[in-house]
Each structure stands twice: as structure tokens, then as C-alpha cells.
């Protein structure tokens, strides 16, 4: 047994430690060296799932029903397997649209509905409040157990002002206010709080494992001994099994697993740490296996502790110890007060972690979705008074009220059944969010009406089949309606609704509520087509992963109307403070490239931006209403939504095209520069050689000058070709249109290159029909093409017995000219490349002199006249370049 001051001192020292860690993390966060930007911290912060209900309750549950404590942790494990596809999507949605609570998430999806946000908040509040009371109760009974010999004297007695639990509650409210409502951040991140929660997760895990190790190897010799002794006792043996296939309530096991699976995603505190506080969505990967591992570790010793406690204390009654407090009473009974104190601190961390995060999450919801809308309505829309301090003040008040209500609930209902069973009842309440939330993330057809009807029905059935009976069992309500049914109608008995019997009350309630919820959600959604606003939000939610992750850019904006920049800035200033609004607009001006705030165009993008930023501070439903009150909106039809979506995707496609054109241009510029540098370098080298050696003999000098001239010629050829290319590509080329006799053109080209081929020792054969119709094109350009092909062929024919064939053919559609040689040919891999700029044929060693622009220009010319150019080649068998030109073609309108 410990003295009260000892326990109190240790507890407040622990709270001080939390305070220190949170202050440190907040400071580091502000200076840009965050301690929470880490997948392990993220994983540990999820450990807030394990509350005092886990810490003490699991052992109690195991002591009464064996392995039945496990589905509560197997469900989250299964849920986390789908974290990468599902949770990541939730995070992406929340980040892009500045969603800061689960109520906001659902309301935002269904057209930013205030009513829906309020309903979700209400459900969360009703479900969570008793759960907070349960945490306070755990602290109180743990404290009582440690400080008084009489076990089980859990419930606080004496006047309320002497009750330390009240002061715990107030201290926690202070902590939550300090780290949860320090400033109004539009992303609602709380680094200090997350760091503290991660630490709490470590503390409760270590404390629980310490007790487990003590029980297994201190109190007994090994876990094996515990199991052996337990299975020798007829009353304990059933705890090691499931009672055989016939007696195993598979349905209930399934229901519990499903319930826990949904809760781990939808409990407000889980949403807060997993979605809102997420720093980097890649952390989800680590968490998706490490969080289940945490759950496994914290459950490893539950069964040994439960069995060990039952063996040690004898069956409940004789020793008198409540299995729920074995974690404390076992070390205490064996003279290990230090361990008992550590275990109490572990339980304290489990309880405080839950209370802090839940209070932040719920206060955000209550403030954004219940209080602020009321306040706005009371003040009237045109009231321009500064409200930037209001949301934080409201949240602070809500946190204090929430904790005091929790305390009140605990004082009134401390020992009642309603409190003991509240863990699962809470879970069942938040599970009602599943159809609207998951449906909204993956199905575009869900509507506001569907969500509203489904949620209401689910909540009503939850209250009737689960909450009311638990209240009645606590003795505050006549149980008559349970045994005889409402109004004496047997079919309406809450735990056998419509005569459905044979299920435990939780499975029964879950079945009916989720069935009605999902069914009505789908049915009411399908009853009418989604409105424009719903359809727009559906697209934004369901397709969120198809857009780039950074910022909201590229997301379509479903808004049309007129707005003024000044009015928007004023309304932003009203809720965020004028300096913050100024920064926000300056940021927008910079990102949109207009530079100054005065130059911002008040378009749909800006309206969307302001509304999103405001949503982070006051919730999306309120933000919608506030923005709508200062702009002039045109209603959208569902068709408009599709059109706007189309436009957005066109803009994205155009942007991508521009980017790739930009890149092409850069490539081209760097190639040109490179090609210009090569001849320049040799010109300079030869010139320097001549300058430095005045005695150079004239023959040598002559040779160098000749080289310089040749290089200069190559340079000017290159420049004129680049200009040529640019002219053709930009569509500014001068094109003549004259009648050309192709036979004459071919003869002319062959004549012109005759000397070149003679030098190479190659023979040129011409093959052409007797007469060819006249072709309308630019003669000089076509000659350029032909000369280019011929001079290419001349470069590649072998030194001995080179042969080149020029073939002209004509058919009904057009004329074809092919130039083939018997050179080395072009490898298959390079055949496409030769038509690209600055890609010359031949390998490094025998790269012929050329600019690398001849073939690209030729191809452009041929294509200008509606023809096409190709290359056929088998390596070793020569190359055949050809082009065809149609007799008639559409003039390019360039």
C-alpha cells in the first residue's frame, strides 16, 4: 500500500513530464525540426486506441471469458491491413480540403451540409462522453486501490471538492487547452500533443509488460506453469478454449471484430491522430504493420495476468480482488509497491491519452459544427465583427465542459452497468459513420439525404437497442419496455427486435443498426440523382488519388459566380485575423504568379482557396456558408459539374503538353549549342596554332587555313539549317506552289551530285517511268530533299563498288521516290532516331560530316506537302530512304 501523497506526487510528476515533452516538441516544431515527422512516432500515437478500458478491462474480460478480449484488437489489425488503400485516401482527402474532424469529413463529402455535420457531432458526443467518464473512473479506482487497503472501494466518496479525480480532470483540461488550442492553425496539427501521446503509448506498453513479466516469472515460474495450473482447475479450464465448435458464438466473435475494425478508423481520437495529425502519408506504410504489432505486444500478457490473478486470489469472492484491477492488485499483494505504482502510471497514461485526444477532436467538432453555426446565425450574416479569437475560445470552453461533464457522469453513474459496458457501446455508436464515410470515399452516388437518413436510422436503432437497455439495466429506467416491448408490443423488445432472438445484445444491436444504416443510405441515395454540389464533392473525394498529391492545384473547382477580392480577404480576416489573411493572400498571389495582392483575380480558384483555408479553421460547412454570404453565386446544374471537370482535365493536359514542349525546346537549344561548339573549337585551335608559330611553313599554314574554311562553312551551313528548321516548324516558311516535272527534278539532282559520287567511286542508276503527271509543290524544297538523300547515300556507300539507285514511281494517289544504297545500312534500333534532330547515323568513329538536321528538315518538307518519309534498312544490306507525295493535298493552315 502506498500513501496518497506518494501516488499524487508520482501522478502529477508524470503529467509534468508530459507537459515538458509536449513543450519541447512544440518548440522543435516551430523551429522546423519536428520530432514527430517520423513513422514510428506516428505509429505510437495510434496507440491512443488502447485506453484504460484496454489497460484494466482486457484483463477483466479475459478473467471472465478467456480469449474474448481479443477481437477488439484483431479488428484493428485487419483494418490496418487496408490502411494503405483506405487510410491514405482519407489522409489525402483531409489534407487537400483542410478537413479537421470526422464530422467535417462526412459533411464535406455530401455537399458541405451543416445538418449532417451537426448530426455526426451529436452522435460522437453522445457516444464518447460516457467513455471519458470511464477513463476518469479507471483513474479514481486505481488511485483508491493503491492508497486504501480495502480493494474495490473504487467509487469516490466524500464531498466532491476533496475528490482528487476532479483535479485530475481539471489538470487534463488544462493540458489539452495548452497543447490542443494554442493557436488556430488551419491544418489543426498539434505536434506537442502528438509527441506526448506517443510517449504515453510507450509508458503504458512498458508498464503492462513489466507487470506481465512479473506475474509470469516472479509470481509463477513460467507462463507454462500458469497455464498448467489453470487447465487443472475445472473453473478456469474453459477460459483456455472457445467451448468447442458447437458452443462457440462465431457470430458474436465476427461482430466484435467488425466493430473494432470500424472503430479504429472512426473513433474521433483515432481520426485525429491517424488523419489530422499525419505528417507524411508514407508513414501509413510503417504504421500498417507496426501498430498491429503494438496491439499484439500489449495483449501478450493479458491472459497470463488474468489467469495468474485468478489462481493467486482464488476465485472472485474469496480474495475479493476485482479482475479489472489485477494489474495493480497483484504487485501490491506481493509487496511490490514500486511496480504497482508503475502500473498505475501506465493506466494513467492510457486514460489521459484518450481524454486529451478525444477532447481535442470533440472540441473541434462541437465548436465548428454546433457552436459556430449557431453563433453565425445569431450574429447575422452581415455582422463584420472580428471573430478570429472566437473559435479558440469556444474550443477551450468546450474542453472544460466536456471534462466536467465526464466527471459528473462518473460521479452519478460510477458503478452502473452503463459505464462498465460503455466501451463497446461507444464503438457501436461511431461504427454508424461507416456507411456514409466509406461509401462516400468509394462511391460517387451517395447523397446527403442518403447519409442523413442512414445515420439517423443507425443512431436511433443504436440508442434503442443498446443505449436504452444499458440505462435500464443500471436501474434508472423501468425494464418493462425490455421484457414486454415498447407500448407492450412484443415485436419491439429492444434486445429481440422484430423477434430476432439468439444473439447477444451487442451483435443484435450492431446487426440492426448497421443494416438499417447501410440499407437506407443506399436506398435514399439511389432515390434521386446527386445534386451538382454533391456530385462535385463526390468527384473530389472519390478520385482524389488520381490527382497529384501536392497542394490543391489541378483539382477542379465547382463554382461559378462573381466575387470581389476585397470582400473575400475581409471575411478571411474576420475568422483568421487580419495579419493571417494578409499572409494568406500574399501567398496566393505569389503562387498564382501575379505577384501583388491587388492583382489577384477574384475567380473560382480564389473562392475555392479562401473557402478551403477557412474550412481548416471553422469547418467546411461553416466556411461554405460564410463564403457564400460574401460572393454572388450562380447555381450549378449536374451537367455543369461534368463540364467543369472536363475543363479542369483539359487544363491539366495542356499544362502537361506545355511542359513537354518546353523540355523539347531546351533539348534543342542544348543540342544546337553543342553542335556549334564543335566547329568553333577546331577553328580556334587551328588559328591559335598559327598565331603561336609565326615560322610555320606555308604548306602547313595553307592546310590549316583550308580546314578553318571548311569548318566555317560547316558552321554557316548549320546556322542556316537551324534557321530553316525554325522557319518550317513555326510555319513561317516561304512555300511556293508550282508545277514540277519529277523526272526533270530527279535528273537535275543526280546531275548535281554526279561529281560527289565520282569522287567516291560509286555508280548511280536512275529508274523512272516514261512520263509522270505534274506535281504541285515547291521545286527548290523538293530538290533540297532529294539532294539531302543523295548526299547521305554518297557518305555511306562502300569505297569499292558503291552503288546507288534512284527510283521514281507514280500511281493514282501520288509519286514515290526512293534512294537506296549498298552501304552498311542502319541498325534497327536507330531507324527511328535518324529523323530526329542532331541524331546522325554511323557510330562515333566514322561519323560523317553533317549537321544532323538534313533528314529532319527533309521530313518536315515532305510532310508539309502531305506526304511521308521513311527508311527501310537491313544492317549489312544497305539503306533505302524514300518518300511519297500525293498529287493533291490539303494546304496546312499554319
Amino acid at each position: 500500500m502506498l500513501s496518497a501523497p506518494q501516488v499524487l506526487a508520482a501522478s502529477f510528476a508524470y503529467l509534468l513530464l508530459l507537459f515538458g515533452v509536449a513543450t519541447f516538441a512544440d518548440g522543435r516544431g516551430r523551429s522546423g525540426r519536428s520530432v514527430i515527422g517520423n513513422a514510428w512516432v506516428y505509429t505510437l500515437s495510434m496507440g491512443v486506441y488502447c485506453t484504460a478500458w484496454t489497460y484494466f478491462g482486457s484483463v477483466g474480460r479475459a478473467a471472465s471469458s478467456g480469449l474474448w478480449f481479443l477481437p477488439i484488437y484483431l479488428g484493428p489489425t485487419l483494418a490496418m491491413l487496408l490502411a494503405w488503400p483506405v487510410l491514405r485516401k482519407m489522409i489525402r482527402i483531409a489534407r487537400q480540403y483542410r478537413i479537421t474532424s470526422i464530422a467535417d469529413f462526412i459533411a464535406s463529402r455530401y455537399g458541405k451540409s451543416r445538418a449532417l455535420a451537426a448530426l455526426v457531432t451529436l452522435i460522437a458526443l453522445v457516444g464518447i462522453l460516457p467513455y471519458v467518464a470511464l477513463q476518469l473512473k479507471a483513474i479514481a479506482s486505481g488511485y483508491a486501490l493503491l492508497t486504501s487497503a480495502g480493494a474495490g472501494a473504487a467509487h469516490a466518496s466524500g464531498p466532491w471538492w476533496r475528490d482528487s479525480t476532479l483535479y485530475f480532470a481539471l489538470a487534463l483540461a488544462g493540458f489539452t487547452i495548452a497543447f490542443g488550442t494554442r493557436h488556430l492553425d488551419t491544418s489543426e496539427r498539434h505536434e506537442g500533443m502528438v509527441a506526448a501521446i506517443a510517449l504515453e503509448s510507450v509508458v503504458k506498453l512498458l508498464a503492462f509488460i513489466a507487470v506481465g513479466v512479473f506475474v509470469c516469472w516472479g509470481l509463477f515460474d513460467s507462463p507454462g506453469e500458469i497455464f498448467a495450473r489453470a487447465s487443472a482447475r475445472a473453473d478456469l479450464k474453459p477460459l483456455l478454449g472457445l467451448g468447442g465448435e458447437s458452443r462457440f458464438a462465431g457470430g458474436q466473435w465476427f461482430a466484435l471484430t467488425l466493430l473494432a475494425m470500424l472503430s479504429v478508423l472512426f473513433l474521433p481520437r483515432q481520426f485525429q491522430v491517424m488523419v489530422v495529425e499525419n505528417v507524411d502519408e508514407r508513414h501509413v506504410k510503417r504504421a500498417s504493420w507496426a501498430f498491429p504489432l503494438y496491439l499484439l505486444l500489449i495483449n501478450l500478457f493479458v491472459l497470463p495476468i488474468a489467469l495468474g490473478g485468478l489462481l493467486h486470489f482464488g476465485n472472485s469472492g474469496s480474495g475479493g480482488a476485482d479482475p479489472e484491477t489485477f494489474v495493480l492488485s497483484l504487485p501490491l499483494a506481493l509487496g511490490q509497491p514500486a511496480l504497482a505504482l508503475a502500473a498505475f502510471i501506465g493506466g494513467l497514461s492510457a486514460a489521459t491519452g484518450m481524454i486529451i485526444v478525444e477532447a481535442i477532436a470533440v472540441s473541434t467538432m462541437v465548436s465548428n459544427d454546433l457552436v459556430m453555426p449557431l453563433l453565425l446565425r445569431l450574429r447575422g450574416r452581415n455582422d463584420a465583427r472580428d471573430l478570429s479569437r472566437t473559435p479558440l475560445a469556444v474550443r477551450r470552453v468546450v474542453i472544460v465542459v466536456l471534462l466536467l461533464l465526464g466527471y459528473l457522469y462518473f460521479r452519478i453513474a460510477g458503478e452502473a452497468y452503463a459505464l462498465v459496458s460503455i466501451g463497446l457501446i461507444s464503438f457501436a455508436a461511431v461504427a454508424q459513420f461507416a456507411p456514409a464515410l466509406l461509401g462516400g470515399m468509394f462511391w460517387k452516388g451517395g447523397t446527403r439525404t442518403g447519409a442523413m437518413v442512414g445515420l439517423s436510422a443507425g443512431f436511433a436503432l443504436w440508442a434503442y437497442t443498446l443505449m436504452l437497455p444499458s440505462i435500464a439495466k443500471s436501474g434508472w429506467l423501468s425494464t418493462q419496455f425490455m421484457t414486454e416491448g415498447l407500448f407492450g408490443i412484443t415485436l419491439l423488445r429492444p434486445e429481440q427486435l422484430f423477434g430476432l432472438a439468439g444473439l447477444d445484445s451487442l451483435t443484435h444491436a450492431l446487426l440492426w443498426s448497421l443494416l438499417a444504416n447501410t440499407g437506407l443510405y443506399v436506398a435514399a441515395s439511389l432515390a434521386r440523382a446527386p445534386s451538382a454540389r454533391e456530385a462535385g464533392q463526390a468527384l473530389l473525394f472519390v478520385d482524389v488519388l488520381q490527382r497529384p498529391a501536392n497542394s490543391g492545384s489541378g483539382a477542379p473547382v465547382f463554382w461559378r459566380g462573381h466575387a470581389s477580392r476585397a470582400a473575400l480577404q475581409q471575411v478571411a480576416g474576420r475568422f483568421l485575423g487580419a495579419p493571417a489573411a494578409q499572409r494568406m493572400f500574399a501567398d496566393y498571389a505569389e503562387r498564382s504568379g501575379v505577384g501583388r495582392i491587388e492583382h489577384i483575380v477574384a475567380d473560382a480558384q480564389l473562392v475555392q482557396y479562401v473557402e478551403t483555408q477557412l474550412a481548416g479553421a471553422i469547418g467546411s460547412a461553416s466556411a461554405r456558408a460564410v463564403v457564400a454570404s460574401v460572393v454572388d453565386e450562380e447555381p450549378l446544374a449536374p451537367d455543369d459539374v461534368l463540364r467543369l471537370l472536363d475543363e479542369a482535365s483539359q487544363v491539366r493536359a495542356l499544362n502537361r503538353q506545355l511542359e513537354s514542349v518546353d523540355k523539347l525546346k531546351d533539348d534543342f537549344m542544348s543540342s544546337v549549342t553543342h553542335e556549334l561548339r564543335t566547329p568553333l573549337t577546331s577553328i580556334r585551335a587551328f588559328a591559335e596554332l598559327m598565331r603561336d608559330d609565326p615560322d610555320m611553313d606555308s604548306a602547313q599554314r595553307q592546310q590549316f587555313v583550308a580546314l578553318i574554311v571548311a569548318e566555317a562553312e560547316r558552321l554557316s551551313r548549320l546556322v542556316s539549317q537551324v534557321l530553316d528548321m525554325a522557319k518550317i516548324e513555326s510555319g513561317h516558311g516561304d512555300w511556293r506552289n508550282e508545277a514540277i516535272d519529277l523526272r526533270e527534278l530527279v535528273d537535275h539532282a543526280v546531275q548535281t551530285t554526279r561529281e560527289t559520287f565520282r569522287e567516291r567511286g560509286a555508280r548511280v542508276d536512275v529508274e523512272q517511268p516514261d512520263s509522270v503527271p505534274l506535281l504541285h509543290a515547291d521545286r527548290d524544297r523538293l530538290l533540297q530533299v532529294l539532294l539531302n538523300l543523295l548526299s547521305n547515300a554518297a557518305k555511306f556507300v562502300p569505297k569499292v563498288d558503291g552503288r546507288v539507285k534512284v527510283a521514281l514511281r507514280a500511281d493514282a494517289r501520288g509519286a514515290t521516290i526512293e534512294v537506296s544504297d549498298n552501304g552498311p545500312g542502319v541498325p534497327a534500333g536507330q531507324q527511328q532516331l535518324v529523323f530526329e534532330k542532331f541524331r546522325q547515323g554511323g557510330d562515333g568513329g566514322n561519323r560523317p560530316q553533317g549537321t544532323g538536321l538534313g533528314l529532319p528538315i527533309s521530313r518536315q518538307i515532305v510532310e508539309h506537302f502531305g506526304g511521308r518519309m521513311w527508311l527501310r534498312s537491313e544492317p549489312g544490306k544497305g539503306a533505302c530512304f524514300g518518300f511519297e507525295l500525293p498529287w493533291h493535298h490539303e494546304e496546312k493552315t499554319a
Binding site: L67, T77, L82, S231, L240, G241, G244, P292, L296
Partner: protein, 67 residues
């Protein structure tokens, strides 16, 4: 590794987990025998659970695109 492959693997693991840790497969282990001093059923549940975690870690930590 493409996201879709990763997601398919996770989905398959999810289904396996549901089957493994639920009625009726769970009752296979309820035999009243012990392995190394630990009753078979709790041992099997915890080992199956750990295996799920291990496979999940292998799937998500494998190299690949994040998008």
C-alpha cells in the same frame, strides 16, 4: 512494385486474416492440447496474428512507387 499489386496483396491478406482469425477456422485450434506448455488455441491465435503482421510488413515495406 506498382500500387495496384501492393493493394491486391493487402486485400488478399485482409481476406486471409478474416478467415484465419474467425469462425469456423478458429475452432480448429480449440483442442485442449498444449504446445511447449502453452495451450494450443491462444498460441495459434497469437502466432497467426504475428504471421499476418510479418506478411503485411513484407508487403508494404517492399521497394516500390509510393503513388
Amino acid at each position: 512494385m506498382s500500387t495496384s499489386l501492393r493493394n491486391q496483396r493487402l486485400l488478399a491478406l485482409f481476406a486471409t486474416g478474416w478467415l484465419l482469425l474467425n469462425f469456423p477456422l478458429l475452432t480448429l485450434w480449440d483442442r485442449g492440447v498444449s504446445v511447449a506448455g502453452i495451450p494450443l488455441l491462444p498460441a495459434a491465435v497469437f502466432i497467426g496474428w504475428a504471421a499476418l503482421i510479418g506478411v503485411a510488413a513484407w508487403i508494404v515495406e517492399a521497394r516500390g512507387d509510393d503513388d
